[in-house]
């Protein structure tokens, strides 16, 4: 075993991913720092490095005198295989320390298809998969992120789970670790102290109950510090919460490689399919002057050529226009551009687009999500036919020639009309482009169609996903009707959406399927080329578990849901009402501008929408 990672690097693709001397990487004194935290992203460097939440936690931990945080990514398959072959353990980037040497090992749960990579990371690190098998010297393995709101399929693998926003609770966790490390105390004692904090879920303290039909019927607690319901943590005032002044500047190309500031957190538009819109409530905006200061520090410390104003719906930020204008006039001269991650379909967004993309008339992206007004009302996507027409025509007039539209198939109540609506719209866009286009280039429309995945904590959480065959047929229908030189049609594999549906609403019984799948060779499932659906099918079969039970079955409203003890503050009645309104195609207003729709979050968590201005736009 004389091979090292360094000696393998000349043999792998993009070896720059595995080096650790990037600008602003924190190399703290390993020996003299009390608490060591490994932050693991269950995907490759190129993906993990673009994640804002991860940057915030990294900087927050390293800002403490008593703690250090180091990064861990899963190596890409070429190096992964070589490491397994040569029995080289996975190490952190900064110190090259084994993961067993850390006190805490944190995973971020961003998407279900990264779950196999979590077990892969543990395997490669030499840490037992099951929390109950871990030794006194092993780190406590924790997890957070959106998928933590149904952590059940992963329950056996984590020592504890953090629900909601991490900035405050992470500090509390580190305080506990610090006091136990100073006074001395066992791993078990440490865990029980952490379990006593708000927003912490220790899966091992609960046991699932299944009824005679094998349906989940609830959890019973088996220890102290096991509340019947765990409420998410939420930052009341974003203006006071920690934000990094430096980002690590990677050498190799990664996603979202730019200065990012978070203009607000939460979104109250209330799209009924959208989990993020439900679990990140309420809206909390950051003051523009704070944002400008954050941008200025980051520009100085990184030298990035792009500034992105990020959030779930940045066009809704009440000071978006003046903020954009200020940033553009300040930074344009030194070759720095400003961007928004997404645009709403309305004339205000077009004004913003003109502002930011004076230069690059490359493409505009919108998400109508459904092909007809009726279905858009069902999902509460507040986009009208006339908005779309006006915006797309306006874009062509202003010189854009390429439009990208996002849709979903398999939404509740979908009919043939809704599919035809997508087709009609695609052809209309081309026709508008011909009529109004001003550039020399032919109009292009990209249609991207995802298969709908019902998510927990949304009004659609009870609904069964449409069958694989039926989704495939719909994809084929669209593909045939969208054959046109000006139209580009793309869609993810239905198998991906299916697995996502299984795990997003799964229970603890799926843990062993995941384990089996990893043993059979599954990893990097979110990379289409890597997904081995045949192995997954085999894993389900060998475990005697029917994936369709989880993905395609419509739940009874009276049924216990495996995630009901993990609360984002939402009232079940609100979700149920929203479901009923969906079926009637009746819309719900945005509580940011209109009346409160009684989702429960504000009273349950003692928070409220924090808006910095009152200028409504759009």
């Amino acid at each position: 075993m004389d091979k090292t990672i360094a000696s393998l690097l000349p043999y792998v693709q993009k070896p720059g991913r595995y080096t650790n001397q990037e600008l602003n990487a924190e190399h703290k004194d390993w020996k003299n720092t009390l608490i060591k935290v490994a932050l693991a992203f269950p995907d490759i460097y190129d993906v993990g490095m673009g994640h804002l939440g991860y940057k915030i936690l990294y900087s927050l931990i390293n800002a403490r005198k008593d703690s250090l945080a180091e990064r861990v990514y899963l190596p890409w398959i070429d190096l992964l295989d070589l490491m397994e072959e040569n029995q080289i353990p996975l190490t952190s980037l900064e110190s090259g320390a084994k993961l067993t040497e850390f006190d805490l090992l944190g995973f971020t749960l961003q998407y279900e298809l990264s779950y196999s990579n979590i077990l892969k990371t543990l395997d490669l690190a030499g840490i037992p998969r099951y929390s109950t098998d871990r030794r006194e010297t092993d780190p406590l393995v924790m997890a957070g992120g959106p998928c933590a709101f149904n952590a059940e399929p992963l329950a056996d693998f984590f020592d504890f789970v953090v629900l909601g926003e991490g900035e405050e609770v992470l500090g509390e966790i580190l305080d506990v670790v610090s006091s136990i490390k100073r006074q001395g105390g066992s791993r078990e004692e440490l865990l029980s102290k952490i379990a006593a904090l708000d927003g912490i879920y220790v899966p091992r303290l609960y046991e699932p109950i299944y009824d005679e039909n094998g349906d989940f019927s609830g959890l019973k607690s088996t220890g102290t510090n096991a509340p019947a319901q765990i409420n998410k943590r939420v930052i009341k005032d974003l203006n006071k919460s920690h934000f990094p002044e430096e980002f690590i500047v990677p050498f190799v190309e990664v996603v979202h490689d730019r200065t990012m500031v978070e203009v607000m957190r939460g979104c109250t538009r209330g799209c009924r399919f959208c989990q993020a819109g439900m679990i990140y409530r309420p809206i909390r905006e950051r003051k523009p002057e704070i944002l400008e200061e954050q941008v200025s520090k980051l520009v100085k410390s990184t030298g990035y050529e792009e500034i992105s104003l990020s959030s779930l719906s940045s066009g809704d930020y009440s000071h978006i226009k003046p903020l954009l204008e200020n940033l553009i006039s300040e930074y344009q001269g030194c070759g720095i551009t400003v961007s928004l991650p997404s645009l709403r379909v309305d004339s205000f967004s077009m004004e913003l687009a003109k502002e930011i993309q004076k230069a690059r008339k490359t493409g505009l992206t919108f998400a109508p999500e459904a092909g007809t007004q009726r279905l858009r009302d069902v999902i509460n996507k507040n986009v009208t036919e006339s908005d779309l027409k006006e915006v797309v025509q306006g874009a062509f007039k202003a010189g854009w020639y390429s439009i990208k539209l996002y849709f979903m198939i398999g939404l509740p109540t979908e009919t043939q009309d809704d599919l035809d609506g997508i087709i009609k719209l695609a052809h209309e866009v081309i026709a508008w482009g011909r009529e109004f286009g001003t550039g020399r280039r032919l109009p292009q429309v990209s249609i991207s169609v995802a298969s709908f995945v019902p998510k927990p904590h949304t009004p659609f959480q009870w609904m069964g996903q449409e069958s694989l065959d039926s989704l495939r047929e719909k994809q084929k229908y669209l593909r045939d009707k969208l054959r046109h030189p000006g139209i580009r049609f793309s869609y993810p594999r239905v198998e991906e959406s299916f697995l996502e549906a299984v795990f997003s609403r799964g229970d603890r019984r799926l843990g062993k399927v995941l384990e089996k799948a990893v043993d059979l060779g599954c990893r990097f499932d979110s990379w289409s080329d890597c997904l081995r659906f045949d192995l997954w099918e085999k894993a389900f079969e060998e475990c005697g578990i029917d994936p369709h039970y989880y993905a395609n079955r419509t739940r009874n409203f009276s049924e216990s849901l495996p995630w009901s003890h993990l609360s984002a503050g939402l009232e079940r009645d609100f979700l149920l009402d929203e479901w009923k309104k969906a079926i009637e195609a009746s819309v719900t207003e945005d509580c940011r501008w209109d009346k409160c729709s009684n989702c429960g979050v504000c009273p349950n968590l003692g928070v409220k929408n924090e808006i910095v201005g009152d200028n409504r736009h759009g």
Partner: protein, 232 residues
Amino acid sequence: MGKVIRFQFTKGSEVRFLSHLDLLRTMERALRRAKLPMAYSEGFSPRPVMAFGFALPVGVLSEAEYGDFEFSEIFDPQEFMTIYNKHLPKGLKVVEAERLPEGASSLMKKINTAKYEVLLPNKEAKELESRWQFLRGQDTFFVQRETKRGVRELDILPFLYDVSLQGSRHDGVIIECVCALGNEGNLRIEELGALLNFNPKEVIITRTGQLIKMNNHYGLPMGNRGLKWKES
């Protein structure tokens, strides 16, 4: 004198795995952090005006990389060096800088020769000497070269100008190779390995010079310290 500063920089082990594009991005971001008065390109997304010598193969270290930066005003090369070095990440360092005369020709146009130092572990000096003697007795040495337009047979022997022993250590030998670089003729690092029987992935290679070969002498892209042409 013009507004262009030409500089020599080194690429150390911390950054040896950067591709040429990674390097350009890194240098550009360091420029922005340094807030130097650069000239920007015209157009919608202005970029600083910069040019570099020939791409260094990924994994190779260098003591002699070159770049040209155009400033918006006459700028002192020493000052540039001091400021810029403060903003470069570990592993990149400017070691020399000078103002270019107006209308000086570009780096890519001039440079045609590379000098590499290779540390060959587990090799003995005699082995290398006899290999070099053998090569010098050959008329040709054909390899398959993959290019964007496909694979072709190519005689690479004329691209290797000189090999000399720099030193012996208990664990191997250090050699210096002078070879063709650039558009007129180029010896790739794998091809150098094929000629001298080593695997480039298993050895440490440092580019120690990028030179301008003219008839029978070598010149440097900067300054006036021409090297003597060594008969081989």
